[in-house]
């Protein structure tokens, strides 16, 4: 651990705002409404500014969606108007041109394998770290806390070299193996916190019943830490799905293996059809927004718990 040395004395990663200590951690996070309406005063200026910023956030998103249904000319002449003719074929053109079907499939495959691997590696580690509190355990926790601060981009080029040495350059497999490594520090730390909420009495009685470590993990710790497992899964799936630079350089742009994030920018050319480009952007974004609309609370909790994103 060369560079981030001084970080060892840093605080732990941002605590999950919904501290897992209480019996049912699934509650707190972005749902402060449980508390009675806060007495904090607020002024008209703050309200105005907050909506102004909301507008600034929303404008490009609105522009994105309306442009997806227009021709170039219409985009240029009436950028913010609703489309005159709804040009749905932009979507099919984008889908075909960038081969988005295959790309989305590749993204899904890589994300799925990577998340299974992440949980497979992180759960046993978190179990051990939650059960033990000796010097070595603290050292391992400390290692992960430092690792959590390493920005993944830092070692892009050596990672490419590694993929070549492993004969996995320009394959999806390398990303499947590599992505979990970056996800491990945060996953282990979060899962450990959740697993520490398992009541000692429960462990004791399970142990008296003759449960070994494996059964303790599967039947006691994982069920109780389930909210944490769900958070980690959502958080890391999103990170894997959205990963761009490593996918671009290591998996590459070959249409049969590239991910959706890599496929999308191929719609840019010297004569970009902005309608098609924005339609493709909407298509790439759609899976994430569908997931978000299905479980916005869970997702918001997961991401605030992680407090980092890619």
């Amino acid at each position: 651990m060369t560079a981030p040395q001084p970080a060892t004395r840093l605080p732990q990663p941002p605590p999950p705002p919904r501290r897992p200590a209480p019996p049912r951690p699934a509650t707190a996070a972005v749902r402060p409404s449980a508390r009675r309406r806060s007495p904090r005063a607020r002024g008209p200026v703050a309200g105005l500014l907050s909506w102004l910023y909301a507008l600034v956030l929303a404008a490009p998103l609105y522009y994105l969606v309306v442009s997806a249904l227009k021709t170039n000319i219409e985009i240029f002449t009436h950028p913010f108007a609703l489309p005159e003719h709804w040009l749905w074929r932009n979507f099919s053109t984008a889908w075909r041109t960038a081969d988005l079907g295959q790309a989305l499939l590749n993204s899904a495959l890589i994300s799925a394998v990577a998340i299974v691997l992440t949980l497979g590696l992180a759960l046993p580690a978190a179990y051990a770290l939650a059960r033990l509190d000796n010097r070595l355990a603290r050292l391992i926790t400390g290692t992960f806390s430092v690792g959590f601060l390493i920005p993944p981009f830092a070692a892009l080029i050596p990672t490419v070299v590694l993929s070549i040495k492993m004969n996995l350059f320009y394959t999806r497999e390398f990303q499947m193996l590599f992505l979990p490594a970056g996800a491990l520090p945060l996953s282990v730390l979060l899962l450990t916190q959740f697993m520490r909420t398992v009541p000692p009495a429960l462990v004791e009685s399970a142990a008296l019943d003759g449960a070994g470590n494996w059964r303790l993990l599967v039947n006691v710790f994982i069920p109780i830490a389930m909210p944490g497992v769900v958070s980690v899964t959502i958080l890391q799936l999103l990170a894997f799905w959205n990963e761009y630079l490593f996918s671009l350089t290591i998996t590459g742009t070959a249409p049969d293996i590239r991910t959706a994030q890599v496929a999308l920018p191929t719609l840019v050319s010297d004569a970009t059809d902005f309608g098609v480009l924005t339609a493709g952007t909407v298509l790439t974004l759609l899976p994430v927004y569908v997931a978000y609309s299905l479980s916005s609370r869970r997702m918001q909790e997961a991401l605030t718990a992680g407090a980092v994103k890619g």
Binding site: L10, A21, P39, G47, P151, V161, G182, Y292
Partner: protein, 318 residues
């Protein structure tokens, strides 16, 4: 901060308590041998994260003109080469400008917006969904959105035209005086709201009666925000500031690659992009990794600075 108790062992009870009944079975369920379970994840982390990080320092000493060639050791020659290169100086300057604008603007604004959100103003659900959404959007999608918005015939210029300010319009990404500011604006666009949501979540745990008491004592809004609420979550602010700093410094390469390719000229080349460009554009891996090491050192220095600036003398828990 509940999490700081990980090593301190706020909940040291389980291990000790469970030790007695567990005796007899393979040295007990709590035998330190349990830590073998952490080995796979540590190995994984060492191979794919620590290994490449260490390798950076090695590659920085090599003459390596492209991945297909064999490297030769040339010691510190790369370093001298890099430090004499005007492009590198531009990249340092651009990176410093980027960080020096983004962080001081983003963190206070995000804190104030987060505080505002945590007071649950009217419509705060809509606000928090909107603020949150850049967190869902990948860098390549962000790039494509702004490729459209900032193109000469795009939304930004369309908006200026609509309000009669045509003269301010420009090809934002192709103009040396606006390329870097555009990238900084995108950083702020996606970062402020997201960070505000995180602050709001954190501020929700500040006990309401403390704020109430301050208000009864006649403290104004701003005073409550900065002198009561802020100190109570200062450690969290510090952590988020460090993370945002690292992300801004390190990850700008992707957006630049998508939008400006570092240009025009070197006007939007940051250190992060230079690492990428030298390795893949100009096939000079030694150069690239010297810049990578510089970036890493800057990252560490910046973190230490932020830690010193946001030091809280008595760290309040909770």
């Amino acid at each position: 901060m509940s999490s700081t108790s990980i090593p301190a062992g706020g909940r040291a009870a389980p291990p000790t308590a469970a030790r007695r009944p567990g005796r007899g079975r393979r040295g007990g369920l709590n035998s330190p041998r349990l830590l073998w379970l952490t080995v796979p994840s540590l190995v994984w982390f060492a191979v794919f994260s620590v290994g490449p990080l260490v390798a950076m320092f090695v590659i920085a000493t090599l003459r390596w003109k492209g991945l297909i060639y064999d490297p030769t050791f040339i010691g510190t020659r790369n370093i001298r080469h890099v430090f004499a290169d005007p492009t590198f100086h531009d990249a340092v300057r651009n990176s410093l400008v980027q960080v020096a604008v983004v962080i001081p603007v983003m963190i206070p604004l995000a804190f104030m917006l987060g505080y505002h959100l945590s007071t649950k103003p009217r419509g705060y659900r809509v606000l928090s969904v909107l603020y949150f959404s850049p967190g869902l959007i990948s860098i390549s999608v962000t790039g494509m959105i702004f490729y459209g918005v900032l193109s000469p015939e795009g939304g930004a210029n369309g908006l200026l035209r609509a309000v009669g300010l045509d003269s301010l319009g420009t090809s934002w990404l192709a103009d040396p005086s606006t390329a870097l500011p555009s990238l900084i604006a995108i950083d702020l666009w996606r970062g402020i709201g997201w960070t505000a949501v995180l602050f709001a979540a954190r501020l929700a745990s500040v006990p309401a009666d403390v704020i109430e008491a301050a208000r009864i004592d006649g403290a104004g809004r701003l005073r409550i925000m900065w002198q009561i609420a802020f100190p109570m979550v200062k450690t969290y602010v510090r952590t988020l500031t460090m993370l945002q700093f690292l992300w801004t410094l390190f990850t700008s390469a992707a957006l630049i690659l998508l939008l400006t390719k570092g240009g025009p000229g070197t006007s939007s080349t940051t250190l992060s992009y230079l690492v990428y460009e030298k390795a893949f554009g100009q096939s000079d891996l030694g150069y690239s990794q010297v810049v990578g090491v510089v970036l890493l050192l800057l990252g560490v220095a910046g973190m230490l600075l932020i830690r010193a600036l946001l030091r809280s003398p008595r760290e309040r828990t909770r």
